[in-house]
Symmetry: C2
Subunit: 296 residues, 2 copies
């Protein structure tokens, strides 16, 4: 099969054998934002046309390619879901002559006790890629990032999840708020990061803690390089404060530099951390495809 | 005396008689950001040169004119402070020939139980303007805005204060985050505002509640005009949740439209609200000047 992880800014393709092993992989800065006039078929052919010519391998795609701004909208599937539920709700796309066919994985939707929705798209495939390895029982998985996702897995199925806008808050506050004026990018400074994480546990709340960065800078107690690290710690601390209220162990999946920060902050809270293979998406696509061929 | 309230974006001048009554007032969009090359004396003369020519009235200025980016930095004074403390710590500026003299009011600085600083500049003058009216005892005063200030007054003195970056968070999230993409400015919608305020009391924390705006929009449950109002309510709700933990009555001072929103959100929490005269700065400058002449 051909597995495509197609996000907002990146495109990654994998050719798999019947056992799910990666035979060949390709990567390009061809995210959906770089595809104009809905020319997704052309973009796909430009990257893996030679693979498509090899034969009738199924093409399975996940990520923002299934969003309203993507190739075709793949409607959100309500939780709880397992790989076979996802496999049973793929969205078909066709192109070319003779006709070629591909399938897009749906995103997931859930509601909390107050009826407020949450959504994800792309992460479902990564989670299903590691679900089998984690085995039975309940597991907390965190995918840190622009929009951090906290997923509850039970016996291989995604039960529910929560999103935290932590990474995006960091970016907009650094680039567009008064806090950014006294910040300079520097080497990792875990003293300032830890101080930010610890501050999140104090009374006052996030809008007050944020202004503290300004005041501490004016008081000469936070230098420009430390300020950015402190902000990162403060925001991650506020996320963890809510995300791990009753959790004793967390599985982390994501970019190594960010995963390290989360691991550090979690361990200072006494929570056990296991770091998972960040290439989980390709295995998720394989599990989804296999569940689908099994269902036929 | 001549009282000047000189902020980042605005300039307001008042000519007062010996009893503190406003004889004449002027206003201009001549904030400190609009004054180039440190030509503050020139800017002041352009606005009130005729008043200065009338005689030897003291000129007292408050606001960002005393910041590092202003005419001359007026160092932050540590809390607690009353009008006479502020009057005893004015920063002098001189200009012209024959020499003219003016004084700039200091900002305030405080530290919380963890040793983290907070600062304000300009609001001290407004607060001292209403302190005498509020009389003895302890009072909670809120000045909502870009950086909302919550001040504790006791027997006419400013004991401590806390800042919440609520207004600035609203602006950067609306203008620079993914949330802004599904927002449109509309008429006041108190249903959405109230829903946002209420959401702030739910578990999950601000970074999670923010993403809820995205998810509810994608789920078709929050239209573009309502989304901005909901965000406003959510942020104000998070501020109030922390700011009024043990408070039963709050005095509000600020722009009427914003004060109305805070009053609404406070009243739904069962807190008594009193709305103060937003022109308090001029009276604060008068009290400070009087305390100074009395001390001579």
């Amino acid at each position: 099969m051909i597995a495509i992880d197609w996000g907002t800014t990146g495109f990654r393709a994998f050719r798999l054998d019947a056992a799910g092993h990666v035979v060949e992989r390709r990567e390009a800065a061809l995210g959906i934002l770089a595809v104009h006039d809905q020319r997704f078929a052309e973009a796909l052919e430009s990257q893996v046309g030679d693979w498509l010519n090899l034969g009738v391998a199924p093409v399975l795609m996940s990520g923002m390619v299934g969003s309203r701004q993507g190739w075709r909208e793949a409607a959100y599937l309500p939780c709880p879901v397992g790989a076979s539920d996802v496999g049973a709700h793929l969205t078909e796309v066709q192109w070319g002559s003779p006709t070629r066919v591909g399938w897009i994985v749906p995103g997931l939707i859930t509601r909390d006790a107050s009826g407020i929705h949450d959504v994800l798209r792309g992460e479902e495939t990564q989670i299903l890629g590691i679900a089998a390895d984690l085995g039975p029982g309940e597991h907390a998985v965190c995918l840190p990032g622009t929009h951090s996702k906290w997923i509850t897995l039970r016996d291989g199925r995604i039960i529910t999840f929560r999103t935290f806008m932590t990474g995006e808050l960091f970016a907009v506050l650094r680039d567009h708020s008064i806090l950014g004026r006294t910040m300079r990018h520097g080497a990792d400074d875990f003293t300032a990061f830890d101080a930010g994480v610890q501050r999140a546990s104090a009374p006052g709340g996030l809008p007050h803690h944020l202004f503290g960065i300004r005041a501490e800078s004016l008081a000469g107690r936070l230098d420009p390089e430390a300020a950015a690290q402190y902000l990162s710690g403060l925001l991650i601390g506020h996320e963890l404060r809510e995300a791990v209220r009753s959790t004793t162990a967390v599985h982390l999946l994501g970019a190594p530099a960010l995963v390290d920060r989360y691991a550090r902050a979690l361990r200072t809270r006494g929570i056990a951390v296991e770091i998972l293979d960040p290439d989980a998406a390709v295995r998720g696509l394989f599990h989804i495809a296999r569940s689908r061929s099994g269902a036929r």
